[in-house]
């Protein structure tokens, strides 16, 4: 059996996900036993239009992007969205809820009128059909290897459908909402007593783990920070319940929406349109 030919393409994004792949180090040699890489700008100079699997990084943000993407879709047997920007719109879609002219002016100044970007940054599947998704900002290297292995074997990759809380509990982390002498069960008046002035000085604890797709082994919470939602919403998030939780811990509606907009912008918009 000949090795499947693999190509990487970047659109609007920081290329951090391809960097994760390039940084696989010794594993990359093992991976090259399984596949042949024909396009990978960060690593090799040659190019080819003959490939079986296309990994797409970045959001799609212009007619030019869309045209290029459609061509890739025609060439590739399997299209994989690589990383948050490609898979869910990611950070790029923060701007989707803002005034596009202002955004362009803020970024490009006097050259703003030369920019031919769409008003919204979109994930790959808003333009072409996507076969598989690798979530995360950046992607998890082990998960990338798992997806490649699965595709080579013709198997469905095993990507969790449950939220980050599952991995957090397995790791026996103290819940973000229960840190610093807090409790997972608390009324807002009790919280004020426990951390006097907290409501004015800084917002209450927040964590997007309860609605974010797992698969990261809750690594941010393991390291003492919080889940920012980089892997996107789970398939059936209970946002109302989650917002009630955040409200209970003293986040205002605006703060909650801000947190949700960091990575969930496009997904939220899609859900609202349903």
């Amino acid at each position: 059996m000949s090795k499947p030919k693999v190509a990487f393409f970047d659109f609007a994004g920081c290329e951090g996900d391809q960097l994760q792949v390039a940084n696989l180090e010794e594993k990359i040699l093992d991976l090259l036993e399984l596949v042949e890489v024909v396009n990978f700008r960060e690593v090799i100079s040659q190019k080819s239009d003959d490939y079986d699997i296309a990994f797409i990084e970045g959001s799609i943000a212009s007619d030019h992007d869309a045209e290029r993407l459609r061509e890739i879709r025609t060439n590739a047997g399997i299209v994989v969205a690589l990383g948050s920007c490609a898979a869910i719109g990611g950070i790029n879609s923060i701007r989707n809820s803002q005034n596009p002219e202002l955004v362009e002016e803020r970024v490009y100044g006097d050259d703003a009128d030369k920019v031919e970007a769409w008003d919204k940054a979109k994930p790959v599947d808003a333009v072409v059909e996507v076969d598989h998704y690798i979530y995360g900002c950046p992607i998890d290297q082990d998960e990338f290897v798992h997806v490649v292995e699965s595709l080579v074997q013709g198997k469905e990759p095993n990507i969790p459908t449950y939220p980050v809380c599952v991995e957090c509990k397995m790791n026996e982390n103290v819940c973000v909402f229960a840190r610093n002498g807090g409790s997972t069960q608390i009324s807002s008046s009790e919280r004020e007593v426990q951390t006097p002035g907290a409501a004015q000085a800084e917002q209450g604890p927040f964590c997007l783990g309860p609605v974010t797709r797992a698969g990261c082994d809750s690594k941010c919470v393991n390291e003492g920070t919080t889940c920012w939602g980089c892997r996107g919403l789970v398939d059936s998030p209970n946002e109302n319940a989650h917002k009630k939780v955040l409200d209970k811990y003293g986040l205002t509606v605006e703060e909650v929406l801000n947190k949700f907009n960091l990575y969930f912008g496009w997904q939220q918009e899609e859900r609202n349109n349903e």
Partner: protein, 344 residues
């Protein structure tokens, strides 16, 4: 009953940590909560804790464990059982009751060597509850104290711990403490008795049901869709109530190939019936697609199904699910009280 000075007990624990071949684990603080973790010093052991984040089931059924290693080229499979013999310090009675229930589950019909071997090679050092968490209702479930399930059981009676021996594993362990273990005095026996008698007063939850009513209450409520939908409305389907439960034992099994694609391992990981894909089967069918159906299933399982099969009410009243559920909808007391009030 025996007794040991607290200082001597600390020395005994330190001696075990240093000289015993087994891993010594015990309850310690983890930030502002408690967890069972390997002990580095007896100083870290907190026998006055109220409840741990996870129950000690993680030592018999780890979150992730390899069951089999295989080589596809050679067609070879090698069973693996990663057993770490352990002395587990500071298990509360409700968790001991839960472990006894799990022993039945893993012995029944299809013996599970992975669980059972880890159990056999563990020594369980129980401790009566010096403190009670706000959400615990072990007093109602009859699990605030126990006469079985431990190898030894400690009770804090001031300067000394009273020790009850529950098995030869326990007496063998105590032998290592040598002369430090003393006979208990009549006055101290009275203290232990008093400790157990006064314990129910420390519980804060107001329960209106008797645990043995649960199978019939649940049966009557099975088809009350509105009841389950209302209670499950804010469920995040995060599985927390399953994962922290000392009697939840469901797992998922996956074959994970290494990058060579010729070698790999069969991996068992915790699963939970509250997770959306738990009841998903081939063909993308899901027979508990709605969160209310999953929510109901958890209660049926705890209060009815396990009772029908093993004679146990599979809720031991530890309060972990209730304590750790962010939307605060997982408190069995609230649900069982509602049922009781709606019935009478």
């Amino acid at each position: 009953m025996k007794a040991i000075n607290k200082n001597d007990f600390s020395e005994f624990v330190d001696d075990l940590i240093e000289n015993d071949d087994r891993e010594v684990v015990g309850v310690q603080t983890k930030s502002n909560e408690f967890a069972f973790d390997p002990l580095k010093s007896a100083e870290d052991l907190r026998l006055d804790y109220d409840v741990t984040i996870l129950p000690p089931k993680k030592y018999f059924m780890p979150q992730r464990e390899t069951l089999v290693e295989y080589n596809l080229n050679e067609g070879e499979t090698t069973p693996v059982n990663q057993v770490v013999p352990r002395i587990i310090m500071g298990i509360h009675p409700y968790d001991l009751v839960a472990i006894e229930q799990m022993d039945k589950v893993f012995e029944d019909t299809h013996e599970d060597p992975y669980y059972l071997e880890k159990r056999r090679q563990s020594v369980l050092v129980g401790v009566n509850m010096a403190n009670v968490s706000d959400r615990s209702f072990a007093h109602t479930m009859g699990t605030a104290t126990t006469d079985t399930g431990y190898d030894i059981m400690l009770t804090d009676i001031g300067d000394r711990y009273a020790i009850e021996v529950g098995s030869s594993k326990g007496s063998n362990l105590l032998e290592k403490a040598g002369q430090a273990v003393d006979d208990i005095t009549t006055d101290e026996i009275r203290k232990v008795k008093q400790f157990k008698e006064e314990l129910p007063k420390k519980f804060k939850k107001d329960t209106k049901f008797d645990p043995f009513e649960l199978p019939s209450l649940l049966k009557n409520y099975y088809e009350n869709d509105e009841f389950w939908e209302e209670n499950a409305e804010d469920c995040l389907s995060c599985g927390t109530c399953n994962l922290v439960c000392p009697t939840c034992y469901c797992f998922d099994v996956q074959d994970v190939n290494d990058i060579s694609l010729s070698e790999g391992e069969r991996l068992r990981t915790w699963d939970g019936c509250m997770l959306e894909a738990f009841a998903e089967v081939a063909g993308d069918e899901n027979f508990r697609e709605e969160k209310a159906a999953r929510y109901r299933h958890r209660y049926m399982r705890k209060g009815r199904y396990m009772y029908n099969r093993f004679g146990d009410i599979a809720c031991v009243g530890c309060g972990r699910c209730s304590e750790q559920c962010l939307p605060d909808i997982a408190d069995p007391v609230e649900v069982f009280n509602q049922m009781k009030e709606g019935t009478s």
